[in-house]
């Protein structure tokens, strides 16, 4: 809770004096490792936004897009002009691995820069580019017995540290 309060205070401080754009949006983002849908709204204070997202990932052992990713992000604009907004943001999420070998839920923490480029005159549409770092790692135990033999080992799941995505945002009031 202290960390969340600290992050909120930090964002408030950083965003002081920066002209706001409308951050309310629904979005779709694609990266090499996941596809996600997001819902973002300004909250607490005009210049801080929060986003919840859900999507599919392919980072576990079978490399199929059948894992679930979900989480929350908060961010604030640090550079704004008529068409462009650069935000800094932080996130906390969960990665639900889905494969035949292990079933684990891995917390994922991220910090990234989110760029919005508004398209068209109405400022309802935008191109979204996110780039940052994320961390999520969890160990799991595997055991097997057959006849007179028992074997066990520890495996480790780790999300890719680079978070890069490109997407589309639809803005609403």
């Amino acid at each position: 809770m202290k960390k969340i309060a600290f992050a909120t205070a930090l964002f408030t401080l950083i965003s002081f004096g920066v002209k706001s754009q409308n951050p309310n949006q629904v979005s779709a983002r694609l990266s090499t490792n996941q596809f996600e849908l997001g819902y973002q709204r300004k909250f607490i204070q005009q210049k801080i936004w929060g986003e919840t997202y859900i999507g599919l990932g392919n980072q576990d052992i079978n490399k199929k897009f059948d894992d679930i990713v979900t989480g929350l992000r908060i961010g604030t604009p640090v550079l704004v002009n008529k068409k462009n907004v650069i935000n800094i943001a932080a996130g906390i999420g969960l990665y639900f691995s889905n494969n035949e070998i292990y079933s684990i839920v891995t917390p994922v923490y991220s910090g990234f820069i989110a760029y919005n480029r508004f398209i068209g005159k109405t400022e309802k549409h935008s191109l979204l580019i996110n780039l940052g770092y994320q961390y999520g790692k969890k160990d799991y135990k595997q055991e097997y017995s057959i006849d007179d033999i028992y074997t066990a080992t520890i495996g480790s799941f780790k999300v890719s540290p680079v978070y890069f995505s490109v997407g589309y945002g639809f803005h609403f009031k």
Binding site: K63, P107, D139, T151, I154, G155, F157
Partner: protein, 226 residues
Amino acid sequence: MVGFSSCEKEELSFTEGDIQIEIETGEHWLHDFPLLLGITKKNPPQFAIWLEDTKGNYLSTVFATYKIATEGWQSNNGNRRKEALPYWCHQRGVVYEDGLLLPTKENPLADGITGATPVVNKTLQLRLKSFNEPVVIKAEFNHSIDFNEFFPEDAKVGDANYSGGDMGSGQPAIVYAGTIYPETKDMELQIIGHSSPDGSNGNINTDFEKLTTSKTIVGKIKVTKK
């Protein structure tokens, strides 16, 4: 309830008589694998560890990496990669629907002995309920596209150094072995040779002259009886 802790650590709990197998990575554990536009990915090797009796009879696999154990190759265009770990396949001797000795997507190895290829050292716990006779521990390791001048990418099918073509093995798989006796405290597995480059047989070749980086995929394999 899911805790937001990424630092939870699973550990193996050994009891007296258990056998610990520790694989220490070598200089060439990670190998560049091309993705696109010159971008490469550091890939760890495929490997399998299994037990035999002292007469060479296969007993059981204790670990195999996911791709070979489940036919989980990416972009292999139907190539089953029989050159990957041919000695293990032949010792195991299970013939699948297509006549090959490799597990399939439909009939993979058991989940409990199939795992992700580690990028760092790997430890296995082994417990033999009746450990009265010596047991041979064997392990086989191989990288894809690990070509060198003796096992080149352009070798032709039928050549002695053909290893599966442009996305094939390159240098053949390396095989380690060691015998553990009931009274053994610790030991190291030793390289006993390399496998068939094209995976066409289960022979062991002891000519190491033509191997370069493949000899240092593994640092050492330590076996300790608790």
